[in-house]
Amino acid sequence: MSFRQPDRPDLPADRAASDRLLDSARHGRAGDDGRPADPLADLLAAAAAPARPGELAGEEAALAAFRAARAAPATPPARAPRRRRRIGAVAWIGAVAATATAGVAVAAVGLDRADEPAPAPAPSTASADPGASGPTTAGPTAPGPAGAPSAPGGGTATPGSAGPSTSAGAAPPQTPGVTPGAGRSGAAANLPGLCRAYLAKPAAQRAKALTTPGFAPLVAAAGDAAEVDAFCRRLVPDPAATPAARPTHTGRPASKATPTAGTDTAAED
């Protein structure tokens, strides 16, 4: 074929000729009988050929992103995302660690609670919940493939954090009868509770307390026994200092978040 042609046969003569070639590229190959009229047109048609199967591999991921964007329209990035995300991650790690040692932790916290006049539970739960529930609604989909693992985490953390607030809110803190409730919602519940118990101890006893199995989830969540102190102060505001501050901005979200968390738990059970 090429021998028939002089040395510069196929060059488009001008921009208009090129335009025509470019415009027709997406209308398929020139010769469907397998005899392409013009190599250049054939090349463009090949470049613009219909989708090959591998090219659409990301379809479900894209749809997931679409659903997520519909579920959580554009507001989350606007609000201080940094701290929430960190707390969410902490809650998630805590949930995983605590789930592993659930029975022990629950028992231990139950005992600890019996000793200590547990301060009201709201603050940490409240701050963790928005973080957790954000990912949960957007959950299955929002951050696409990368975010998927965090969704179950948020789910686990939410029922968990609901634990202390229901137990402490509904029942007098000193009764051991709290334990069943906390046990049902899992030990993930008790990371804030553990922190409060830990912080309520005299400083001299804290290090020793961390060696007991009951506080193991806390140590695991903090990463290291030496970090627990700072970890807990981040997670739970100083119980002595906060009676006034607590109800104002943290109390309400907690009570609002709790019912949904409760149904989650029920659904899981």
């Binding site: 021998f3 335009d19 090349l43 463009l44 219909p50 090219e55 894209a62 749809l63 992103a65 554009a74």
Partner: protein, 209 residues
């Protein structure tokens, strides 16, 4: 075709998943091919980022050429990606990757006797960046010169000129390849070999400059 696309856009904005699926299937191949020319083997990752942003920003699309809107997002994502990559000490070799792909595609397409999609894209990617982008936006994405110009931040005339130059270059390349494939197909496969230095500098470096 275009009206069909616009209807799908409106439906997708109203939450219709099937419409969004249609948009994806219609636009993704072109975006992926264009991105392959820009970022090489990372095109699929960048395409995912692109669709993430399309999903998120779809409500803010207020009309106009939807293809141009999506390809602008894709291009921005690609430029971000290249910037990130340049900060890392990685050595991207997109043209190389394309040449490898072209090799595979070529053997696969041999039976069909026509140029494979991968090979065609690989050839286009060897053009100078401006010409390659102009050709891809016009022929593969399907934009007119005006829309392509808006995507690239250049005048329509400049895009037409670049595309025209690119086509002439491609025709010459094809001509150079053609005799080999006709005369001795088994002796010299007419495809860019992985080991052969590609004429012109690697695409990525020029794309930034």
């Amino acid at each position: 075709m275009t009206s069909e696309l616009n209807e799908a856009v409106v439906a997708a904005q109203a939450g219709d998943e099937d419409a969004f699926r249609f948009l994806y299937r219609t636009l993704q191949p072109g975006l992926l091919r264009y991105l392959t020319a820009l970022v090489g083997a990372d095109a699929e990752d960048v395409a995912s980022e692109t669709w993430l942003q399309i999903s998120r920003d779809l409500p803010t699309f207020t009309g106009g050429e939807f293809r141009a809107w999506t390809v602008t997002i894709a291009r921005n994502r690609a430029m971000d990606h290249l910037r990130r990559q340049r900060r890392r000490p990685l050595l991207p070799v997109p043209v190389q990757a394309l040449a490898d792909l072209a090799g595979d595609a070529d053997t696969a397409e041999r039976a069909g006797e026509t140029l494979g999609t991968e090979a065609a894209l690989a050839l286009i990617a060897t053009l100078p960046p401006r010409e390659a982008e102009a050709v891809l936006l016009r022929a593969v994405i399907g934009l007119d010169a005006e829309s392509a110009g808006r995507v690239l931040g250049r005048r329509a005339g400049a895009v037409r000129t670049a595309a025209h130059r690119g086509l002439r270059r491609l025709a010459t390349l094809l001509q150079r390849q053609d005799p080999t494939s006709e005369a001795a197909p088994s002796a010299t496969p007419p495809r860019p070999r992985p080991g052969r230095p590609t004429p012109g500098a690697p695409y990525v470096e020029q794309a930034d400059g």
